[in-house]
């Protein structure tokens, strides 16, 4: 068997542009490739892929494979796994990285089992052991209560998905040179057993939660859908977005896509305000990267105070209207 070499990252597009997770993958991929003293490649799969290949080069890639065919218009497990299986067998990378996204979390494990190798999902840190050259993969476990570090001695490529916003992208360098290579996986269409019939997008009013600079999160203690209106008003005043812990989503007070946490959205705003939520490890997994954390909770022992920068102990029903009015006053003056 040929020796495995280099790092391959699986890119993604978001609204036709290079996704931020892909820039982050290129950042960590470049670092690992340099540590190995080998090359960094990226691959994009889709239909009608635009200029992202060139952009990936400016962000660190040496080679960019483009798999462009109507067969890949929608993400379907069978077709994407099939394409990557061919490319991985062809190129034999030492390390293969994907994003922990809707696509990556479905694709990575299935591909790993296809290739007969191990994968670690949702990593927040990747380093190369200087002695063994093995990839050490750190990921939160037990809902974020603990951290585990994994290696795989056997099975190549060494695979991982990385959590969005966990890695730094490189500064774009337009003078970087690289090669764009079309790749035809020659897939048999009959091997694709599923098809996307419809895509239903949740309507987003205002700023997208993941992109917001201010996030106001409500928890179970908010109590009702009506009470969430106040949080929406606060978000509007502060130019932010509303999020929630799981109970308000499960209870239907807010739509499911507002859930922040391990199995919801990841946010890292400049200002996060958590109201009437306890700060479970699973919720923290989605917001602990926030730069300034404010907590309002009637229980002084609530977990959220353990990671908050500013805290107020008290009933939010009394506190919040006064806070809101004062914010309005300060921001208008």
């Amino acid at each position: 068997m040929a020796e495995n070499k280099g790092v391959l990252i699986v890119g993604e597009l978001s609204d036709g542009k290079l996704a931020s997770i892909t820039a982050e993958l290129l950042g960590i991929g470049r670092k690992l490739a340099d540590d190995l003293d080998e090359g960094l490649s990226a691959v994009f799969i889709g239909n009608g892929i635009t200029d992202v290949a060139g952009e990936a080069i400016t962000l660190g890639a040496d080679k960019v494979y483009v798999i462009d065919d109507p067969l890949f218009k929608d993400y379907v497990t069978d077709s994407y796994v099939g394409a990557l299986e061919k490319l991985s067998n062809d190129q034999a990378p030492e390390i293969l990285l994907l994003g922990q996204t809707s696509m990556g979390r479905d694709l990575a494990p299935r591909l790993a089992f296809r290739l007969g190798t191990a994968v670690t999902l949702d990593c927040v840190d990747l380093v190369l052991d200087p002695d063994t050259k093995l990839l050490q993969k750190s990921k939160p476990v037990y809902g974020g209560n603990a951290m585990a570090v994994y290696v795989s001695e056997e099975g190549r490529p060494q695979m991982a998905t990385i959590r969005p916003k966990a890695m730094e992208p490189l500064e774009q360098d337009v003078s970087r040179k690289g090669e764009v290579i079309p790749f035809d996986p020659a897939l048999d269409e009959s091997a694709v057993r599923a098809r996307v019939v419809e895509k239903v997008k949740e309507e987003v009013v205002g700023i997208k939660l993941e992109d917001a600079d201010v996030v106001i999160c409500g928890g179970r203690g908010i109590g009702s859908a009506e009470a969430f209106e106040q949080l929406k008003e606060l978000a509007k005043i502060l130019n932010g977005a509303v999020g929630a812990t799981r109970p308000p989503c499960d209870s239907g007070w807010v739509p499911a896509h507002l859930q922040v946490g391990l199995t919801g959205k990841l946010v890292s705003p400049t200002l996060y305000i958590g109201i009437a939520l306890s700060g479970s490890s699973q919720h923290q997994a989605g917001m602990s990267g926030s730069k300034n954390i404010v907590a309002i909770n009637k229980d002084p022992e609530a977990n959220i105070f353990g990671i908050a920068h500013y805290g107020v102990v008290g009933d939010y029903k009394k506190l919040l209207p006064a806070f809101l009015e004062k914010c309005k006053e300060l921001l208008s003056g």
Partner: protein
């Protein structure tokens, strides 16, 4: 419809951080005395998903769990909810299973169970949060997989599922047999009824060991497990009344240039 649901017994994920302890040598969490082990929450939803299909068109639901002796509790719990049969895989040879080995052993057990149209898993375990055993089983069985889903219906011999994605969901049509992993958007799992609990108590579990289905070596190794420490740094804002505290918070955030 023949359905198989994979469920795992875990340390209660709602254990507050202050009570959460690990054994760094054994590299796993230590269950606290006042919190019994539970069925991993998404697995309970996977059982619910299977029972909804059974409610709609009949069929048989078999529960499958790999774990210690105590894992029989989560199999019985699922049967009390309405599942028909249970298989428990216990053997010291399974103790060091990573995700790869777990999926391989479960896939072997599924083959031995024989007939299946839908295999259900949770989207991820509440202990290792690995999120890959479901896809792994599907790959080893050579059947399609859709992950994670919030709804499944059978129409004209195919499954129509709703797959949860970042900005909504996708409706996907997929051939049977299929493996799906279930997410909390499915909705609350049903409670076990008294009748269900009594019926489950009477049923025998099938016990298989490595002699029945073989064992598989792990492919990955955990180097270490630790609890990250963060410094408490919270500045508490006070006031004579809650209203005053609210005003003071706004003033303080303004001072800190956060408003």
């Amino acid at each position: 419809m023949n359905m198989i649901v994979c469920v795992k017994q875990v340390v209660d994920p709602e254990t507050p951080a202050a009570a959460f302890k690990i054994d760094p040598e054994a590299k796993r969490a230590v269950a606290s005395k006042d919190r019994p082990l539970v069925i991993s929450p998404f697995d309970e939803q996977a059982v619910e998903a299977a029972l909804r299909v059974k409610d709609a068109q009949g069929g048989k639901v078999t529960i499958l769990s790999l774990g210690g002796e105590s894992a029989k509790d989560v199999v019985k719990h699922s049967m009390a909810m309405g599942a028909d049969a249970g298989v428990l895989l216990t053997d010291p040879a399974f103790d060091d299973s990573d995700s790869f080995a777990t999926a391989a052993v479960l896939a072997e057990a599924i083959k031995k169970i024989g007939e299946y149209d839908i295999v259900f898993c949770g989207r991820q375990e509440a202990d290792w949060d690995a999120g890959q055993v479901g896809s792994g089983i599907a790959e080893l069985l050579g059947i399609p997989s859709v992950t994670p889903i919030k709804k499944i219906e059978i129409k004209d011999g195919k499954a129509v599922v709703e797959r949860v994605v970042e900005d909504g969901y996708e409706v996907i049509e997929v051939s049977l047999p299929v493996l799906v992993t279930v997410s909390n958007e499915l909705g609350e799992p049903r409670y076990a009824t008294l009748k269900g609990i009594m019926a489950a108590a009477k049923k025998q579990l099938i016990n298989w060991s490595s002699q029945d289905i073989g064992a598989v070596p792990a492919k990955s190794k955990m180097l270490k497990l630790f609890i990250p420490v963060h410094e408490a740094r919270c500045e508490f804002i006070e006031g004579e009344t809650p209203e005053e505290a609210g005003v003071n918070l706004a003033v303080r955030l303004r001072e800190a240039k956060l408003l």
